[in-house]
Amino acid sequence: MNSPQAKIDIDSYEAGFLLGLYECMVQIREFEEGVKFLFLEGTMPGTIHQCQGQEACAVGVCTALEPTDWITSTFRGHGHALAKGLSVDEMLFELFGAATGCAGGKGGSMHMVNMDKGMIPSIAIVAGGVPVAAGMALAFKMQQTGQVAACFFGDGAIAEGAFHEGVNMAAIWDVPVVFICENNQYGASTHVSKVMRAATIAERLSSYGIDGRRIDGNDVIAVYEAARRAVDDCRAGRGPAFLELMTYRRTGHSRRDACHYQPKPEREQWLENDPIVRLGQALIEAGHATTEELDAVRKHILTSFDDAVERAKAQPQPTLADLTTHVLA
């Protein structure tokens, strides 16, 4: 892995593409920050698991996917959803419990979904997405659809039974699934070193015959390029693939976690390693954007978020009749 503050190599890409990555990362950051303040104001009930600082993982991976590819996500799924093309409105409405939300107001923060955009409802059970993604990819292979499944999970998932069973199934079936571990180094208050004796998660995957690499998860270009290779391999019938994205959970596990178990120097070092700042600096140095232009991107996103909040507050809530819809049994 590159050292945390390593320069992002953007030379191969056009300004428009890079600015798109930047805008999507800022969108995720400001969505999360906005939601955090709504919670602090008391406007939004419930708890939330947020992904500030991990934006490059979601954006790098989802940019490498086609709109027809599918993702599975977790309780920390707002970034994955935005990167897969869900709108701020449908997500925010869902967070407000509105009938117009992406899950009809019945799912909330931990169940972001849009079946037309390739996102099944995110799964709050740790490692729950792994066997599901293996199954989806098996269907793609059997039906020869050419689609790929991308499965996001955290470092906390790698000691779950479902993880090992799902990964092994995918491996023996040679299915087109990319497993993506966002190694943010903590599963709730537990450091990853306490749940794994091996040095990297990547080497554990190789024991299943799946090639995996450890990548600087705060370098959006490195993530994108690795994901591109993995997705191409899968589409060419050489799946599954694995990516270990090194990043950091800079918020508490959920809103009510004071996060005192993260050592201060470690936190500070990672706060300086900001995926958005790093891409921004590269864009400015390359002459693709000025500081003012990047500020304007952020301001525009902030204004549209505030507008979306006003719309969200005015959305209809589910009614009693909705109680029996979308129920299978």
């Binding site: 303040f37 709504l38 809103r255």
Partner: protein
């Protein structure tokens, strides 16, 4: 505009938290996201961030008291909103 900051729902199980100490003084300018109050929940000591930018006009919550979630804890003068 005077913004009445209510105690956020930071407790894990209960609906009350202990106020430990103020981290800013009346008259101080505070930014959005700045830690302004230290509290203790059923689980941990933690800092409360301000959801707005402005000037702190009054501390309603007093140190070494217990307040319910949703109680007004501070008055903050904001520019707009």
């Amino acid at each position: 505009m005077l913004y009445k900051f209510k105690m956020p729902d930071l407790s894990t199980t209960g609906d009350e938290v202990d106020v430990k100490q103020w981290l800013v003084n009346v008259g101080d300018r505070i930014t959005r996201g700045q830690a302004i109050l230290e509290i203790e929940t059923d689980k941990a000591v933690m800092e409360v961030e301000s959801p707005v930018e402005g000037v702190l006009r009054e501390w309603v919550a007093q140190p070494d008291t217990t307040v319910g979630v949703g109680t007004i804890i501070a008055h903050i003068e904001t520019a707009g909103r």
